[in-house]
């Protein structure tokens, strides 16, 4: 498992204040931290109000765990992204870690596929 603590992204804070209608992101995630995971897409749950990506991640010992990455609403993602990301894709995702470590949860900041295609909230990126 590649899990690197990264510097705070100002964009993460911006995100926290804009999409918090249904539940509290600041209560659910540590929005002051960003971590990165690398793994294989198990499932892309296109849902409203929040979509989820399940990512199979291997640690250095080869132990596999499935991370649960919360993303935007299906209404935002059901364009290009929905038809682009498939089970089996290899991706690198950075996001805010969940407050409950047992959930293996991240809130998506950005996602990059091995072919270089990426989406997210960094400057120059698009959500969909």
């Amino acid at each position: 498992m590649k899990r690197t603590l990264m510097l705070l992204f100002p964009t993460a804070l911006l995100l926290a204040s804009t999409l918090s209608a249904h539940h509290s992101f600041s209560a659910t995630y540590d929005t002051g931290k960003t971590v990165s995971i690398e793994g294989k897409v198990v499932q892309f749950l296109l849902r409203n109000p929040h979509s989820f990506l399940h990512i199979e991640v291997k640690d250095k010992e080869g132990k596999v765990a499935v991370y649960n990455v919360e993303w935007a609403a299906a209404g935002q993602l059901n364009g290009t992204i929905a038809s682009s990301i498939k089970a089996g894709d290899l991706v690198t995702i950075s996001g805010n870690p969940g407050r409950d470590p047992a959930d293996l949860r991240l809130r998506m900041v950005n996602i990059k596929r091995t072919d270089g295609q990426s989406w997210g909230f960094d400057p120059g990126q698009v959500v969909n």
Binding site: H23, S24, Q43, R47, N68, R99
Partner: protein
């Protein structure tokens, strides 16, 4: 509290005197009873948005363990401290609706309109629609009464309104358990909310008073402000669809913090440099006298720490029992042709149609004649089948009379019964095998003759698939549930009640884990219509009719209590030590009892016993 009432009063006066849209005041006796007022008060119609500054401190975006200014009681505080945001990933919580007044704090669009009788133009109702969670409220203005206590609750509740001058005053009951603040501070299903709507030009002030006997020590007043939008925003939907958000999580996992182990309990107080006591809420945090309480910082800190653990005398349920006790049988249609008959001990369910009546449980038997009369009003055909969900006398006491009042034409005159005199001249009684055995052992009258053990018992009756499923080692080893599939009504028996902790009878094969499994089995069969409201309806063994939300809440409670007791057992605690730890503390105000046939201590003992020595078959399903 005085200051808040003064504020409320001042705003009401303001609304009555300076509203730009003031019209002729509304209802008067000569308007005609039951028709609603001919002329309304201030017109509230239009598209609105909440004033953002108000919403930010009150919504789901609020801070963890920020309870200041809320007169919550000790149980509510413990409930909130055991709540992690991760709870929202549990399937039934993902699309939870919003109760009022939380309804008014969502940062999205609202529409208010009136509905008038097309023939008289009298005001029948106000409609409030909120975009987030697509909340859809109807406020009846025609003088109709609120439903009986055993009727279902919804997130919108049941509202009636009246004009007091130009102020619209709305009273709402039949609310589900929701949020006062979505950082874990609950608003109970016994709550009554009174809202006053005062319009000032392009603003509406909504002053709400929450009266919650379960979780608040005194009524809480909350204000919100709506701002009129000149143009309809053309964005009104908020679809929500639950999913397996946490991959691979089992259905009996409900995230919670054990008492005293919430890692974020101090976060808000520390960040805002507040004494912890102020952040933990309670009535004293509403008044200036709090300053005296926190002057001695050491004492305040010690008091705050004490408040993060169970203390005080045992609590009993503060929610009213919805069961009628007037000696009459009360009939209510639940869905399709399935009815609730309430008033004689445990709830009775009746399905009727062209073939006859299918009765689930028969009550205590004290009012059996009235039960038979009530069924006769629903069905001209006789009772053909009776199914007992358990052996307990409050569910089977009417067996003998109801059986003899019925008939089973499938037996009468059939090839198999010709040689038996009297075959089919009474209803056939069905149950899980162990229920029959217990009734025979205990010499209870009219035990079932038609049994099933591990497989479901099914019939196609009155044009509807009817399935009975055995629920191993739930409250006993003989429980079953019944699903009327076309009406989509599940009769849960004592596996689910809205009035008490589950009566887990370990001497007769009951176990906590079997009970949790049974509730999850029910939840695997339910579907809601929208945001945890409606759809599959549930008739509990005792209490009011519900849908899946209350079943999920009950399941959550039992899982959380299981986790607490399991932690005690793991630490080597005795039963007495476990009882002393008060593992049900935050739920006693809703379900607890210190006297009667099923006390809190008896329940905790059953939990402890069945976790230490679980029946081998509790996970059989």
């Amino acid at each position: 509290m005085k200051t808040i009432y003064l504020l409320v009063g001042a705003l009401l006066v303001a609304g009555a005197t300076i509203g730009a849209q003031v019209q002729t005041p509304g209802a008067s006796p000569e308007n005609g009873a039951g028709l609603g007022p001919m002329v309304a008060g201030t017109d509230l119609s239009g598209s609105w948005r909440p004033q953002q500054l108000v919403t930010e401190s009150q919504t789901a975006a609020g801070d963890l363990a920020d309870f200041g200014g809320i007169p919550l009681n000790d149980a509510a505080r413990m409930y909130a401290l055991s709540w992690p945001a991760s709870r929202q990933t549990v399937k039934q919580h993902q699309c939870m609706g919003y109760v009022t007044p939380y309804f008014w704090y969502a940062p999205a669009n609202y529409r208010i309109w009136e509905e008038r009788d097309p023939f008289t133009q009298r005001l029948v109702s106000w409609r409030f629609y909120g975009q987030i969670a697509q909340g859809d409220r109807t406020v009846y203005m025609d003088g109709r009464p609120h439903p009986p206590a055993y009727a279902p609750h919804t997130f919108a509740g049941f509202s009636t309104g009246e004009y007091q001058g130009n102020t619209l005053t709305v009273t709402t009951t039949h609310l589900k358990r929701g949020w006062i603040k979505a950082n874990g501070v609950p608003q109970s299903d016994a709550t009554t909310v009174v809202e006053h709507f005062v319009r000032h030009g392009d603003n509406i002030t909504v002053l709400a008073v929450i009266d919650d006997p379960v979780y608040l020590t005194e009524p809480l007043s909350k204000a919100s402000m709506l701002v009129r939008m000149a143009k309809d925003p053309d964005a009104w939907l908020y679809p929500c669809d639950d999913s397996e958000q946490i991959f691979g999580r089992k259905s009996d996992v409900v995230p919670n913090h054990l008492f005293g182990q919430n890692p974020y309990a101090r976060e808000y107080a520390d960040r805002r440099k507040l004494p912890l006591l102020a952040a933990l809420g309670g009535v004293e945090t509403m008044y200036p006298e709090l300053a005296n309480a926190i002057r001695d910082t050491t004492a305040a800190e010690n008091l705050a720490k004490a408040r993060m653990m169970p203390s005080g005398p045992p609590a009993v349920s503060r929610a009213p029992d919805p069961t009628p006790k007037d000696g009459e049988i009360h009939t209510m249609r639940v869905s399709g042709e399935v009815y609730l008959l309430a008033g004689d001990g445990a709830n009775i369910a009746v399905q009727v149609g062209p073939q006859g009546a299918f009765v689930v449980d028969t009550g205590s038997g004290k009012l059996a004649d009235k039960v038979i009369a009530a069924i006769a009003k629903l069905s001209a055909k006789p009772i053909q089948f009776i199914l007992n969900t358990t052996f307990r006398p409050d569910h089977t006491g009417g067996n003998a009379k109801l059986q003899m009042a019925g008939a089973d034409p499938s037996v009468t005159g059939s090839f198999f019964s010709m040689q038996f005199q009297g075959a089919g001249l009474a209803a056939t009684i069905i149950s899980q095998l162990n229920t029959q055995s217990r009734m025979v052992e205990q010499k209870l009258p009219a035990p079932p003759s038609d049994t099933f053990a591990e497989d479901r018992r099914r019939k196609y009756y009155n044009g509807e698939a009817v399935e009975a499923f055995p629920m191993p080692n739930a409250t006993t080893d003989g429980d079953s549930i019944v699903h009327f599939r076309r009406a989509d009504v599940i009769v849960a028996g004592d596996i689910f009640t809205t009035t008490e902790y589950p009566h887990i009878d370990t001497k007769n094969g009951g176990s906590l884990q079997g009970e949790i499994n049974a509730l999850n089995f029910i939840l695997d069969r339910t579907v809601y219509i929208h945001d945890e409201d409606g759809g599959t309806m549930i008739i509990p063994g005792h209490g009011r009719v519900t849908d899946e939300w209350e079943v999920a809440e009950y399941r959550d409670m039992l899982v959380i209590i299981r986790d607490r007791v399991q932690a005690m057992i793991k630490a080597g605690a005795t039963l007495q030590q476990t009882l002393a730890s008060r593992p049900t503390f935050d739920y006693d105000v809703r379900y607890g009892a210190t006297s009667g046939p099923w006390t809190t201590n008896m329940f905790v003992e059953a939990v402890y016993t069945s976790l230490k020595n679980p029946p081998k078959t509790e996970n059989a399903r």
